[in-house]
Every structure is written in C-alpha cells, then in structure tokens.
Symmetry: C2
Subunit: 344 residues, 2 copies
Amino acid sequence: MAVTIKDVAKKAGVSPSTVSRVLSNHPRISAQTSHKVKEIMEQLGYHPNIMAKSLVSKTTESICIILPKPAEELFSNLFFMELIRGIVTQANRSGFDVLISSGANEKEEVEAVARLLKGRRVDGAILLYSRKDDPVIEFLHQNDYPFVVIGRSEDYDDVLSVDTDNVQASYDATKHLITMGHERIGFVSGPPNLTVSQDRLKGYQNALADANLEMRQEWIVEGEFVQDSGYRAMSFIMSLPNRPTALVVVDDMVSFGILRGLHELNFKVPDDVCLVSFNNITMAELSSPPISSIDIGIYQLGYTASQLLIQNIQNNGDTIYQTRQIIPHRLMIRESSMLSLPKR
Amino acid sequence: MAVTIKDVAKKAGVSPSTVSRVLSNHPRISAQTSHKVKEIMEQLGYHPNIMAKSLVSKTTESICIILPKPAEELFSNLFFMELIRGIVTQANRSGFDVLISSGANEKEEVEAVARLLKGRRVDGAILLYSRKDDPVIEFLHQNDYPFVVIGRSEDYDDVLSVDTDNVQASYDATKHLITMGHERIGFVSGPPNLTVSQDRLKGYQNALADANLEMRQEWIVEGEFVQDSGYRAMSFIMSLPNRPTALVVVDDMVSFGILRGLHELNFKVPDDVCLVSFNNITMAELSSPPISSIDIGIYQLGYTASQLLIQNIQNNGDTIYQTRQIIPHRLMIRESSMLSLPKR
DNA sequence: ATGAAAGCGCTAACAG
DNA sequence: CTGTTAGCGCTTTCAT
C-alpha cells in the first residue's frame, strides 16, 4: 500500500487537510508545520495520488496530442517529432503531462478524443494539423473544450491556432528565386485539401504576379508530402517543352524525391534547376546539394501551441491573447538555389 | 456538469451499481437491463470518469514513455518517432493510453518517473534506450514497477527488454562487404557508453576475425549519432595512408555526414568507398547514392515493447514470456555497397 | 439479478 | 492557522 496523505498527517500529528494545504502551498499555514510536514513527506517517500487529486479538483494537468492517422503518410516523421518535442518540453515546464493518442480513422480519432475529454483524463487537446471539415475540430468546438490547432481552421475562425504565415513564407521563397534571375518558376504542391498547400500556392502566385512573371497551370503540380510525389512531379515538369528553371517545393521531403529524380536524369542542381522548399528539416542541410529551405520553427510551433493551450486552460477558457499566433519563418539559402543566372 | 453514473442510473430506474456492472460487462446482469442502460448512456452521452475509476480500481490503463534528454542529440528524431508510433499504436489497441515525458537532466527524469509511477498516474514505463548506470532503470527496478527497455540493460539481467541482435546485425553488414571483395574495412561507431555501439563494434570485429582480415585500431572511429560526427570520422579515415575501401557505419545519420564529406573531397561512393549502415531510415533510400542499411524494424521494436509491458502489467508482474525479445533485422542492399571490386 | 453502503485519496468549505 | 466534515464518480462487498 502506498503512503497516503493520512499516513503523513498521522505521523506529523496534524490533520489531513493541513497536509493537503502544505502540498498546495496554502498561504495561511505556519512555516513551522509546513516544514515539518514536508520533512515527513520526504521521509515517508510520499507522492500525491494524481487521480484522487484530479477527481476532486476537476483538473488533470494534462493535455493530449492527436496524431492523425493519415498524417503518418502525409508528413515526415521528423516534422512531428520536432513538434512533439516542443509541446512536451513546454508542457512539462508548466507542470503538465502530455498524452499521445491516435486512431485508425477519423471515427476512431473522435472516439479517442471524446473518451479523453469527456472522461476527464485531459484538460485540452492539440491537433497537429488541420484539414477541411475535420470531425475532431467539430467535436471539440461543439463541446467547448480547450484546444489548439497547429495550422488554421477554415471552418471556424474563433479557434486557437499557431501557424506559420505560409502565404508570406512562400512569397519569400519565390521572391528569392526571382531575385536570383529566374523567370520560369514552378510549384510542387501537397494535398490540395490541406490549408498549408493552399496558402503556399497562393504566396507563390502572389510573388509571380507582383513580378509580372508568367504563370502556367502546367508548372503547378499537386502531390503528397512524400518523396515519391516529388519524383513524379519532377518527371512531369522536366518533360515539358518550356520547362521552369526553378521550383518552389512544398516540403523538404518532396525535394529529396525531386533531387533523386533529377540525379537519375542527369540534371544538375542548381545548374539546371534551382530548388527552394519548406520546413528546413535537418537533412535539408545534408543532402547534395544542400537544399535552400524556409525554416518555420517547428519546435517553436509546438512550444507555442502548448503554451497557448495551457494558458487557455488555466484562464478557464477566457481568451486574453490573440486567437491566432504566427511563428516567424526564415529563409535558409543553400546551394540548391545559388545559381544566379540559370542556363536555359 | 458532466453526466455521471448516477444520472444514468436514475433515468434507467436502476441503481448506480447496476450501471457500473453494465459498464464492466459483469456476467450476472440481465440482457434486458444491460441493453436499456446502454441505450440511456448513449442517449445522455455518458462517458465514464477515468480518474474516478482509476482511483478505486488502482489501475490507470496507461503507460509512459521516457524521452531521455540527451537522446535528442544522440539519435535522429526519425528513430524516436517511429518507435513512438509503434508504441502508441499497440497501446491504443490494447486500450491503453500513452503519456510522454522528459526531463532536462537525469535527476529530472527520475523525478518525473517517480511522480508518474508513485502518483499512480501510469501503470508502467518504456525507456527508449539504455545507457550504463541509468538512474531511471535503477529507480524502476528498485521499486519493482513494470517497465521495458528498448535495448538492453547491462546492470540487471532480469529487466524486460526488446532489442535488435546488434552483434549479429553488424556481423551481417560486415560480412556483406567482405563478400563483395573488401579486405580493408573500417568502423564508424557511436558513443562508447551505449550498448548499441559496443554490440555493433563486436559484430564487426567478429566478422573480420572469421574472415582472417586485418584489424586496425585506426580504422575504428568513435563519435555520436549525428551527421557532423560522420563528417569528422570520414576526414580522419580518408587521410590515412592505407585507408579502408569500405565502412560499416553505426547509424544512417552518420552515413549522411560521411557522404557529404566524401562528396566535398571528390570521393565517389561506391567507387572509392563502400558504405553500409544501420537503422534504414526513410532517407537512406533517397540519398545519392542510396545507402545500404540494416533495417532493424524500429516500429516493430516499439510495438513489441508496448505489448510486452502491457502484458506484464495485466499479468500483475508475472513474467510468462521471455525477458528479452529480439526483433529480426534485415540487410537492405543498395548502391552504396554495390561495387564488388573496389579500386585501391 | 440487483440495491445499499462503504470507501479509494484527496480537496474545500465551514468552523473554530 | 488548523481541524472537521462532506463529497468528487466510481467499484465492490454484502445483502436480498
């Protein structure tokens, strides 16, 4: 049997409530008793039963992360791990535990979230990305549970979210290529139902428009956030009669696929084609050639999301800060885009 | 106020205990009442309060993963994410939740684990890797808490663990190079205090010994599980007068560093040097050239660890299975080791 | 097959 | 400043 508050109370010659008060640093407690009780807790190896505390206080000091099933394929694991690290680090600093959950499909995801939130096992949730018509967001929003979306919700505009300014980021990436002298620039996108794909496409288009450059539908290819997708996009684009001299690519992982394909076809980067992509995962720097990439501060995204959620929980749902937080991005220029006057 | 067991009981015209019995599929309950109660639960949107249940049942149906702080630097994030995916998937299938925790240092790690286990928030723990004299293992072992180590413990041999047969795996990798005609083979290792480094070094040495090949201390370089480490190791090895024609590398990430370095020095892989490494992360296949790698089934390691832990928890600590589980590995041969007669 | 009652370990009024 | 009391929502004997 584990040692309880009663055991401590008995041994210290005080009442259980006193011990409880010591535990929560109640102001009206004599320094003396506090000290004595703490000593005895130490001595007995007392650890408060979190479940019991949570039962009466109606707060769990924990949050959950929903790992969307399809995401496993959509995004690189690197991306998620970095996000999770950020979340866990800040949550732990705030004294919160982090629970990770996933479902085999959307229905299971909602069930898992419902069980966790309705069952009062966690106080709030972080969604690792937003898709259109997401039933999980629907559920959380409807039941008024605290939650934060990494990305943005198209369906509701009052949800807390942490995001990159993807339109601007993509504008910057494209602008960089334009500055380097490129006039025919293509875009390799992700799944069109993700807001991130849409936003990045838009930034690209804005940049071209501002520079009065030609825009061609055939220079825009949609795919997934995986390497194969890049490979296929590359084959298509490079077979065009009047092909781009540079590409803006929605994700580093996709760039790797492109790089591999170009290599096989004996195209050189940056000599024949220049590349800029997004997310700046560790590997971007290490590939040959190193890939220019927009660093979106993935860790920071996670860290901030956790912070926002926990503040919201602690303020009891009163939003005393911005609903939507933007994490700054930064273009990391590397060899893949270092050729200012491309061959044709 | 959330709907409780009482609300359901009242509406169904039964006692709370009956509702509880329905919830846990108690055998002696009439199909009729069971059905009616379930209907009302559905209707009211009832979800059992997990904390309350846990408080009385003294079981939490959840486990925790300890993310060791230094690991963030030691291993690639890819590795961990894959492990976590395996753990979370199987745990969820068994009806368990997974809590993730980390500490800034060893002391904090132990505190976190103590709080979680002693505070009865989780039933057991999974350690993502084992180092020598680990205070967390010490704590768990001493207090007789259920836990599983991914890797192996040198300090105790009765701890549950899931591991790769790293000696054999490394033997296989080395043997492969020998079969391809190499006679001078080097080894780029990880931190010497990790069992995985030691085991892989041993397998390499065994293979050389069995083939009567020369072993030179200068062909063995220690480092970390990061790219830079590979870069440095490469510079050293390639500057040797009588340098190896092939390398066994402790981790794919390190191989990337080596690859980058070789590229800068204008060495070609596999023409000048052949490479085989470990872990077979997604990127191994995508680099140029693709890297031969030992697939150790990371996801499977996580999945099995979770299974082992949960079985142990459910059997109340009685070990009715092997203490140490080995996940099979598989050599994936790719271009980086495809040259059978190396130049000298 | 079901109900009544006790209690898991803790917190939170309400008294003093 | 501290003790007493009454639950939080659930499970579990012990009756019936």
